[in-house]
């Protein structure tokens, strides 16, 4: 029995429920089906730091937003077209983001007086008319699920827990999503629990059938596959891409990867992922603390491994001294900082870009460290490879600045050919490099490559190259302890010159109209919202250029030239103006900062408004 099908070019769905309702899993599954259907997509998981906050409360609400379209999109979307609210708390926590006219699917079973009171509803919003301007679909999801699962040998509680699959089935029907993938996923997940498997599949199918039969939904929607570049695709989240990028870099460098790490949100998933891949020679070490994590990684680098540590902002603070040591030792090391809201513990599960200056300057002394930042989930793969390239080529610690938004978000990812990845092989020192006046030779650990200024990487076990290195200032060339004033001045400037001289690609500018007088400059995960805002502005007739920095230290060589091309430069950041401070200080450009620290990505429409005002002012 077919219903009318309405074509849409894009849809934004937000699943919201209690932390224990399985909203992240539901969102993930809908995303996977959407990805394999061929839509372009972008996701935004938004969950509390507490594992299980008290049930039915606002702090316990966990949400997952998915934006999918028949065209290229770069954000998880500003305002949902559909809200799935599994309880009153989910409705209350999300209703202010929902535009009038949107569909709201609610689980009426949870709208009990007690649950309503718990979140401060004096009257039932489903009955008091406050939702009149929305298309509300009241569905007793829990009881319908329990009813559908009669006959399966499980407890009532287990039956109730399958309600997220009922919701997923309904949404899958509503948006014409393929079902096979979800069934396959459930079969794998519950392979050892046949009753639970049967319950989940039955609930999923019941949800689908409900959509077909109920009169509450008169239409079905369809979002055609997006036109994307030819190739093989998969759905990819940022932390996974980052882990894969590190493995790929290790393979291309022919250096075993050693991760020294301490669990911290939102970076732990990289540790979990890498721990699965020992067969690629990936070694993971869960250390006693953040300091030991980076210490072990540095020890491994000293031994000729690809040393990596993963953390978030608070962990970087603890690792600072070791990063300084790595600067002084001039050994390769990658420090992954998946930024979260700060200061201190801050907002562990929310995103922010406020560690830029910590990465740039957060050490004692003049201790320059290159910084690379991915712009999207899939881009974490390439950014990780780039961080490894810089670390190994220039024998330096490198910051890879991801954040909670790109780490947990996902998008379709064009699977690269392994052969197309850069060759990162390095040459260890094997012989003496200095001839003394008497004609004998010796090894100088701090004799630099004239082009890169990198020192030799001489690993223990190499005959004839025995030498000592340390955090004390060392004499240029020999590496022996030196307290000489002129030598210190020289070494500080050499270390700075090495980082300043790192070869990075030029900054590219997207200015399709060619006549823009305003440039929007960003870095890291704001790429998506800025890009969407620029496109929005252009559609409305404003000429605007976009440039996005992957390299924050050193800046691309053409940065000054790009900045000077425009009358105004706007810098949106999820901090209080850290890149803007660097740009002003470095280039004397009176950049206009636009800042938000809400723990959430920018809304494209809001940025478009900012752009409009600036364009109007030139």
């Amino acid at each position: 029995m077919g219903k009318q099908t309405v074509q849409l070019d894009r849809v934004i769905i937000r699943f919201a429920g209690d932390s224990g309702d399985g909203m992240q899993l539901t969102g993930d599954q809908f995303t996977s089906r959407t990805a394999s259907f061929g839509n372009d997509l972008s996701t935004l998981p938004d969950f509390p730091a507490e594992i299980r906050a008290p049930a039915g409360t606002i702090p316990g609400v966990s949400a997952f937003q998915l934006h999918f379209a028949d065209h290229d999109i770069t954000t998880a979307g500003d305002t949902p077209n559909v809200l799935v609210a599994m309880n009153p708390a989910a409705l209350k926590a999300n209703i202010r983001d929902i535009p009038r006219g949107a569909d709201i699917i609610v689980n009426t079973d949870e709208f009990t007086p007690r649950n309503l009171t718990k979140v401060g509803y004096d009257t039932n919003p489903l009955e008091d008319g406050s939702l009149q301007s929305y298309a509300v679909h009241p569905i007793p999801l829990t009881s319908m699920t329990v009813e559908a699962l009669k006959g399966i040998e499980i407890t009532k509680k287990e039956a109730e827990r399958a309600k997220n699959m009922f919701a997923l089935g309904l949404l899958s029907w509503l948006y014409h999503r393929p079902t096979e993938g979800t069934v396959t996923f459930l079969k794998q997940k519950f392979a050892k629990k046949p009753e639970i498997l049967a319950a989940n599949i039955t609930a999923f199918e019941a949800g689908w059938s409900y959509g077909e039969t109920t009169e509450d939904f008169s239409v079905q929607y369809e979002v055609k596959p997006a036109v994307m570049a030819p190739g093989r695709y998969r759905n990819m989240s940022g932390n996974l891409a980052l882990a894969y990028g590190l493995i790929a870099a290790s393979q291309r460098a022919e250096l075993p990867l050693f991760l020294g790490s301490y669990p911290i949100t939102p970076a732990s998933d990289i540790l979990h992922e890498l721990a699965k891949h020992k067969r690629f020679g990936v070694m993971t070490f869960q250390a006693e603390d953040e300091i030991a994590g980076i210490g072990a990684a540095l020890g491994a680098s000293y031994g000729g491994m690809l040393g990596v540590t993963t953390t978030s902002g608070p962990g970087v603070a603890l690792k600072s001294e070791t990063i300084g040591l790595a600067v002084s030792l001039e050994l390769p090391l990658v420090i992954v900082d998946v930024q979260r809201g700060g200061p201190s513990t801050g907002l562990p599960t929310k995103t922010e870009q406020a560690d830029l200056l910590q990465a740039m300057f957060g050490r004692n002394g003049e201790a320059p460290v290159p910084i690379v930042a991915p712009r999207s989930p899939g881009d974490c793969f390439d950014a990780a490879i780039e961080a490894v390239r810089i670390a190994t080529t220039y024998r330096t610690p490198v910051f890879l600045l991801s954040d909670g938004y790109v780490a947990n978000g996902s998008e379709p990812w064009s699977i690269p050919e392994v052969d197309s990845l850069p060759d990162l092989r390095v040459q260890f020192a094997t012989e003496h490099n200095h001839t003394k006046a008497d004609g004998t030779t010796e090894f100088w650990p701090f004799l630099r490559d004239p082009e890169t200024l990198a020192r030799p990487w001489a690993v223990p076990g190499t005959k004839g190259l025995e030498h000592r290195i340390g955090g004390i200032e060392k004499a240029d060339g020999t590496g022996n302890i030196s307290y000489d004033a002129d030598n210190h001045e020289k070494m500080v400037r050499l270390r700075q010159a090495k980082i300043d001289g790192i070869s990075v690609p030029d900054l590219e500018v997207d200015d399709p109209d060619g006549d823009a007088r305003v440039l929007v400059l960003g870095w890291g995960s704001t790429y998506g919202p800025i890009n969407a805002a620029c496109q929005m502005s252009r559609r409305k007739g404003s000429s605007v250029a976009q440039a996005h920095l992957r390299h924050l230290n050193p800046f691309p060589a053409n940065t000054a030239e790009v900045l000077r091309r425009y009358d105004k430069v706007v810098i949106p950041e999820m901090n209080l103006g850290q890149l803007a401070l660097l740009i002003r200080g470095r280039f004397l450009v009176d950049a206009i900062p636009y800042n938000q620290v809400r723990g959430l990505p920018f809304r494209a429409e809001e940025l478009a408004g900012v752009i409009k005002d600036v364009v109007a002012s030139v």
């Binding site: 190739g231 894969y244 067969r279 030991a292 210490g295 072990a296 020890g299 223990p460 340390g470």
Partner: protein, 352 residues
């Protein structure tokens, strides 16, 4: 890396052997030693340099890693690979190196401040993990490099620059701490006793896993004579217990010995009164660390009376790095290492 060779030292069996005969001179670097004249560190350095040839290892496969403090300058003076790192972190850095490079013999040099104060966390976790590291803890009961503040092993009431009215801190007993931290090898020796120092280094080198050697070391500038009662010929034999595996535990002069009391605790008794048969026989290999712990508690931190010297504990537990290597090998045997397969995953779609 280089091919492994079988050695007399099981913990070093994967480390390549030296090609020719070595001497202490081979282990002296060209750097001028800059400790204060008279410092106990000189004796330890000389002891280590003369012991190293006994290992017969390729010296490029030996690495000394240190933290910060007077003792931590040690690596600069050894003609091997070495790293002078940051305060307290040497065990962490050395762990990363030792885990990834089983072909290296990795030694950590640290002090009472470096290991027990700022680096306490890394020390206890290195010990419980049992990574193949040898840790030499130079204990002089004072901060030397920062010019004379009390340390975590300074005695209660210690008057120093930072404690003009006396230290209020209960000191650590490094041996007790190590035993509590699941250490598999714990020993104590004295800087000035070359023979005992060498014996202890040998035992540590032979041990598979983390070995902690506490070395009583004199700081002649800021805490001169801290260990004198255990060194001067007049008193030492009546204050020191020599721990030797399989031997009764007695003071060096033989006058008193350790017996087990009716309540199970250890007591010190006159040997003439209890007879030699009643004396406790030292067993370094005892799985139960309680006797070793009890022995570590006998000494008086103020007078140094009843101080045991020697190996307290030396038990076999597969080192972390060996278990780590086993997991790596098992994983490599059990799955594909094709990068393209990994990147593609199982759920892909094609756009043409």
């Amino acid at each position: 890396m280089s091919e492994a060779v079988e050695l007399g030292f099981p913990s070093l069996r994967l480390v390549p052997k030296a090609e020719g005969k070595q001497s202490a001179k081979d282990f002296k670097s060209d750097q001028e030693v800059r400790w204060c004249p008279g410092c106990g560190d000189y004796a330890i350095l000389a002891g280590v340099q003369s012991f190293m040839p006994e290992l017969g290892l390729a010296k490029e496969n030996i690495v000394w890693i240190s933290g910060i403090g007077c003792s931590s300058r040690f690596p600069y003076y050894m003609n091997t690979f070495g790293m002078h790192s940051i305060h307290g972190r040497a065990p962490a850095i050395a762990s990363g190196l030792a885990i990834t490079r089983p072909d290296l013999s990795v030694w950590v040099v640290t002090g009472d401040g470096d290991a027990l104060s700022i680096g306490g966390n890394h020390l206890i976790h290195a010990l419980r993990r049992n990574v193949n590291l040898k840790i030499l803890l130079f204990n002089n009961r004072i901060y030397g490099l920062t010019k004379g503040q009390y340390s975590p092993t300074s005695e209660l009431g210690k008057v120093t620059k930072s404690t003009p009215m006396g230290s209020l801190d209960q000191p650590f007993n490094p041996v007790s701490l190590a035993l509590g931290a699941e250490a598999t090898f714990v020993a104590r020796t004295i800087d000035s006793d070359r023979k005992h120092l060498t014996e202890t280094l040998r035992a540590a080198a032979e041990h598979e896993g983390t070995a902690l050697v506490e070395i009583y070391q004199n700081c002649n500038i800021f805490n001169d004579g801290a260990w004198d009662p255990l060194k001067d010929a007049e008193h030492r034999d009546s204050l020191t217990f020599r721990l030797e595996h399989g031997q009764p535990i007695t003071l060096v002069d033989g006058s008193r010995g350790v017996v087990r009391a009716a309540d199970g605790s250890l007591q010190i008794a006159d040997v003439s009164a209890v007879g030699t048969d009643a004396l406790l026989i030292h067993d370094v290999h005892s799985e139960d660390p309680s006797v070793a712990f009890a022995l570590s508690r006998m000494s008086d931190p103020m007078s140094l009376a009843n101080t045991p010297i020697g190996v307290f504990r030396d038990v076999r537990r597969t080192p972390y790095d060996a278990l780590f290597a086993e997991q790596m090998a098992a994983a490599k045997a059990g799955g594909s290492d094709d990068l393209a397969t990994l990147l593609a995953g199982s759920d892909t779609w094609e756009i043409t």
